[in-house]
C-alpha cells in the first residue's frame, strides 16, 4: 500500500433514497481502492439508512404528527361537499395520520426491533412490524406533503427531468425532508471532519434531489471542499445535468461510469493542486476565471477488476439496516457478457467492456468479508453470471468449504443450469436466482433480442426449483406492439407454472434515451414523444403503431399483479412484504427453509387471516387504539387512488417523471367522492387501517365500557342467534386487524 504523507480526508456519501435492507456496494469498493492507493482517511456515510432510522424514531414521528395536524387538518377537506381528485392524497394522509400517529409513535421502536432481531423469522411478528415501518414513513411523508418517502422511492411534487424544478426542490424545506436532516444530522460531522473531497453516489433517480440538496449545503458549509458525484443514474443524465444552469451551486464535478480510477486521479490532483483536465471520465467546472465553465474530459479506462481489493464496509452502521442479519453485496463481474437485449441500458450505466473476477478471487474476498462482518449471507451483484462462472464459482465455494448462503440475478443458460448444475449451485449455498423471463410470447422475445425461449427459461427454472433454489422471474408488460392477449398469455404461462416460479418482478416497459428502442424507434413501430421543457429528460412517452397504449399497459400491470396476488402465495395478503423486500425472503431461505415450506407458511397465514372464526371471547379494544370518525370513506379514497390514472400522476422510481396534464384527466375520469360517515381504526399490534361503520363504532364503544366480548354477550342475553353470530364475525375480523386483543 502506498502511503501519502499529507492528510487528505475524503468522505463518500450515499444520499437518500436507496433500499434499506443492505448497504450499496459502490462506495465500499471506492473506499478500498482509495485506501489501497494511499488515501488512509476515507469515511463512509450511508445517509440513506441514517435518514430512515432517524425519521422512524418516536421523536421524529411525534414532530411529524404535530406538523400534519397543522398542514393537513382533516376538516379542511371536502369543503364543497364532495372530495375532489386533487384532495385525495392529502385526505388519505390526514386520515391515516389522525388515526395512527399515536400508535406509530409508541410502537415504532418495537417494530424496528422485530425487523432487526430474531422475531423477524416469525411472520406473525414480522408482517405487522413491516407495516408499522411503511406506515411510519407515510406519517413522516405527510408532514412534507405531497412528498413521499417509502422504502422503495422518494418523490416530490416536481419532475426529475426539469432542472429548474429539481433545483427549486433542493431549497424547499417545507416539502423536502432532507434539508433539516442534513443540517442537523449530517453536516455537523462533516464540518468537524473538514473533508477535502466528498463523493456522492447517485444510483437511482430517487437520489437526485437529495444528492443535489446535500451538495448545495456542503458547498455552502465547506467552500474549500471539492464535491463530486457519480453512479448509475448520473451516467444517464450527467452531461445534461452539468449543462443545466445552477447546478454549479451543488457540484464541482461528475464522474461517469466506474468510479475507482477517476476518483483516485481526482484525489491525487486535488491534493497536488494540479489541473483536473487530464482525469479520464470526469466532467468538471473550471472556476479559474471566476465563473463556472463546464469542461468535458475524454473517457478513461476501467480498472482490471481482478486487481480490485476486497470492498471495505468499515464505518457503516450495520445495526441500522432493516434486517436481522447482514447480507454482503459483492460484485462478481461488471457489464454483461450478452449485451443484446433491446430494452437494456446497463452498458451505459456501467461503462464499456465486460470484466469478471476469477472464482478464486471472489471466494477470497467473500470469505474474508464473511469472517469480518460475522455473516454467511451474500448478495452477488451481477447482471448475469457468465456460463463458465456458473460452474467455477460453486466448485470453488464447495472446495474451500465456504459455507455461505447467496442469491443473485442470472441469465437463462440451459447448458449451465442443468439438473446437476443446479444441484451443485445449491450445494454451494445458492438459495435464490432471478431470471429475465420478460414474456411468454416468442414474437416479442425475438423483438427484444433476448436470445432465449420461454420453454428454455421454464426448463432452467424447473431444474433450479427441483434443486431447492427459489426462482424469481423478471417480466415486462407493454413492450412496443404487445397486445392484451399476449400479456395475458404471459400471465397464464406464469400461473400454470406457479409451482416453479415463486415470485414475479413485473415492470411496465419504459423507453429511455440510451436503449435500442429509442435509438431505432421505427424498427419497434413507435413514435417517440419529446418534452421540450424537460432539459434532463431521460425517459420518453411514445405512441405505438400497434398493441397496447402506455395507459393500457398500466391497466394490464394492475390486472397481472392482481392475478399474481391470487395465485402466488408469496404475493398473497400481506406476504407481499416478503416480495417487496427481496433479501427478507432470502434470509429465510438462507436458514435452509425450503421454498415449498415457506410458500406453505404464507398460504397458511393468508387462510388464517381470511377466517371469520375466533377462539377468544375475552376480546377488548387495543390499549393504543386510534379511532377517528371520517366524513368520506377511507376505502373509497384508497380505491380511487389505485386507479392507473391516479397512480400515473406521481413519478415512479424508474422514470422520476411527473405528468402534469394527467391530473386533469384523472380528475375527469375518477370523479369526486361523496360523503359517507365512517370510522377508521388503527392499533400498533395490528398496524392495519381498518374501516368500520358508525354501528361498528357503537359496538367498539360498548366493548370499551363493559371490558370484553364475553361480558358484552352476558349483557345481551336476549339477542338472537343471527345477531350473536354477526357479532362474533365482527369481533374475529377486528381481532385479526389488532383492533381487538385478548385481555388474558
Amino acid at each position: 500500500m502506498i502511503q501519502k504523507s499529507a492528510a487528505f480526508p475524503i468522505s463518500l456519501i450515499f444520499p437518500p433514497q436507496g433500499h434499506f435492507t443492505q448497504p450499496y456496494l459502490a462506495l465500499p469498493c471506492l473506499k478500498a481502492w482509495l485506501e489501497q492507493h494511499g488515501f488512509g482517511e476515507v469515511d463512509l456515510i450511508d445517509a440513506s439508512i441514517e435518514a430512515y432510522d432517524h425519521f422512524l424514531s418516536p421523536d421524529e414521528l411525534s414532530w411529524a404528527a404535530d406538523r400534519v395536524r397543522e398542514r393537513l387538518p382533516l376538516d379542511s377537506f371536502g369543503k364543497s361537499g364532495e372530495l375532489s381528485f386533487d384532495e385525495l392524497e392529502g385526505y388519505r394522509a390526514a386520515a391515516e395520520s389522525a388515526v395512527s400517529a399515536d400508535a406509530l409513535i409508541s410502537g415504532i421502536e418495537s417494530a424496528k426491533r422485530v425487523v432487526r432481531g430474531e422475531e423477524f423469522y416469525s411472520p406473525d411478528a414480522y408482517l405487522p412490524a413491516m407495516r408499522s415501518v411503511y406506515h411510519g414513513l407515510r406519517l413522516y411523508s405527510a408532514a412534507h406533503f405531497p412528498s413521499q418517502l417509502t422504502p422503495h422511492n422518494f418523490t416530490m411534487r416536481c419532475a426529475n427531468d426539469r432542472s429548474e424544478e429539481v433545483l427549486a426542490a433542493t431549497l424547499n424545506e417545507d416539502e423536502n425532508p432532507f434539508i433539516r436532516f442534513f443540517r442537523e444530522r449530517v453536516l455537523p460531522g462533516l464540518v468537524e471532519r473538514q473533508p477535502r473531497l466528498v463523493g456522492l453516489s447517485v444510483i437511482y433517480g430517487s437520489q437526485l434531489i437529495p444528492a443535489l440538496t446535500l451538495g448545495r449545503m456542503l458547498k455552502a458549509a465547506l467552500p474549500d471542499c471539492h464535491v463530486t458525484a457519480g453512479g448509475g443514474f448520473l451516467a444517464y443524465i450527467g452531461k445534461k445535468l452539468l449543462a443545466a444552469p445552477g447546478i454549479d451551486a451543488c457540484l464541482d464535478s461528475l464522474i461517469f461510469h466506474e468510479g475507482e480510477a477517476p476518483m483516485l486521479a481526482l484525489a491525487n490532483a486535488l491534493q497536488a493542486g494540479e489541473s483536473l483536465g487530464t482525469i479520464g471520465s470526469l466532467d468538471w467546472y473550471d472556476r479559474s476565471s471566476g465563473s463556472a465553465v463546464r469542461v468535458e474530459n475524454p473517457q478513461g479506462h476501467p480498472i482490471r477488476l481482478e486487481d480490485a481489493p476486497t470492498p471495505s464496509f468499515d464505518g457503516l452502521p450495520f445495526e441500522k439496516y432493516f434486517t436481522p442479519e447482514v447480507v454482503i453485496p459483492y460484485d462478481i463481474n461488471r457489464g454483461c457478457y450478452y449485451g443484446e437485449c433491446a430494452f437494456c441500458t446497463l452498458p451505459t450505466v456501467i461503462g464499456p467492456g465486460y470484466r469478471t473476477r476469477s472464482a478464486k478471487r471472489i471466494v477470497d474476498h467473500v470469505t474474508e468479508l464473511s469472517e469480518k462482518l460475522g455473516t454467511k449471507n451474500v448478495n452477488f451483484i451481477t447482471d448475469c453470471m457468465p456460463p463458465g462462472m456458473i460452474a467455477d464459482l460453486p466448485n470453488e465455494l464447495i472446495e474451500r468449504k465456504a459455507d455461505l448462503r447467496w442469491w443473485c440475478d442470472a441469465r437463462v443458460e440451459p447448458k449451465a443450469y442443468t439438473p446437476e448444475g443446479a444441484r451443485n449451485l445449491y450445494a454451494a449455498g445458492c438459495r435464490k436466482l432471478l431470471f429475465g423471463f420478460e414474456t411468454a410470447t416468442p414474437r416479442l422475445l425475438k423483438l427484444m433480442k433476448k436470445g432465449q425461449s420461454a420453454r428454455a427459461t421454464l426448463d432452467v427454472a424447473r431444474n433450479c426449483t427441483n434443486a431447492g433454489i427459489s426462482v424469481t422471474f423478471y417480466a415486462m408488460v407493454g413492450f412496443p406492439s404487445e397486445t392484451r392477449e399476449e400479456a395475458r398469455a404471459t400471465l397464464d404461462f406464469i400461473r400454470d407454472n406457479s409451482d416453479v416460479v415463486r415470485e414475479v418482478s413485473l415492470q411496465t416497459f419504459h423507453i429511455d434515451e440510451v436503449a435500442q428502442t429509442y435509438k431505432d424507434a421505427e424498427a419497434f413501430g413507435i413514435e417517440i414523444l419529446d418534452d421540450e421543457h424537460a432539459d434532463l429528460q431521460l425517459y420518453h412517452d411514445y405512441i405505438s403503431e400497434s398493441g397496447m397504449t402506455q395507459t393500457e399497459s398500466a391497466e394490464m400491470f394492475e390486472e397481472m399483479m392482481a392475478a399474481f396476488r391470487e395465485h402466488l402465495p408469496l404475493f398473497s395478503g400481506d406476504n407481499i412484504y416478503y416480495f417487496m423486500n427481496k433479501s427478507h425472503y432470502f434470509l429465510h431461505l438462507a436458514r435452509d427453509v425450503a421454498p415449498d415450506e415457506f410458500v406453505e407458511l404464507c398460504r397458511a397465514r393468508t387462510e388464517r387471516r381470511q377466517s371469520n372464526a375466533t377462539t377468544h371471547t375475552d376480546l377488548a379494544p387495543a390499549q393504543d387504539l386510534g379511532v377517528a370518525t371520517l366524513r368520506f370513506r377511507y376505502t373509497d379514497v384508497i380505491r380511487a387512488l389505485a386507479h392507473p390514472l391516479a397512480r400515473a400522476v406521481r413519478p415512479d422510481f424508474l422514470t422520476g417523471r411527473y405528468v402534469e396534464d394527467l391530473v386533469a384527466r384523472a380528475d375527469a375520469e375518477i370523479g369526486t367522492i361523496k360523503p359517507v360517515e365512517n370510522v377508521l381504526a388503527y392499533s400498533s399490534r395490528g398496524a392495519e387501517y381498518t374501516e368500520l361503520t358508525p354501528d361498528g363504532k357503537q359496538v367498539l364503544d360498548a366493548l370499551s365500557e363493559v371490558g370484553s366480548l364475553d361480558l358484552l354477550f352476558d349483557s345481551l342475553a336476549g339477542a338472537d342467534e343471527r345477531g350473536r353470530a354477526d357479532l362474533v364475525r365482527f369481533a374475529a375480523r377486528l381481532e385479526r386487524a389488532g383492533v381487538l386483543n385478548p385481555t388474558r
Binding site: T21, L506, L716, G723
Partner: protein, 52 residues
Amino acid sequence: MSDKQDQDSQTSSKPAEKLETLAEKLKLGKLDLKVEEVEERISPSETNVFDK
C-alpha cells in the same frame, strides 16, 4: 382508545347502568357490522427491481 372524547365520556359511568344502556342501544341483528381492511397494494412505482 385515542379518541379522547370517547374516553372522557366513559370514565364516570357505573358498570351496572352501562350494561343495560348498551343492550338497549345495540339492537343486535340490525347493526351494519361491515369491516373493510385495506390490503397493501403495489404499483409500478413501488416494485423497484433494483431493491434488495
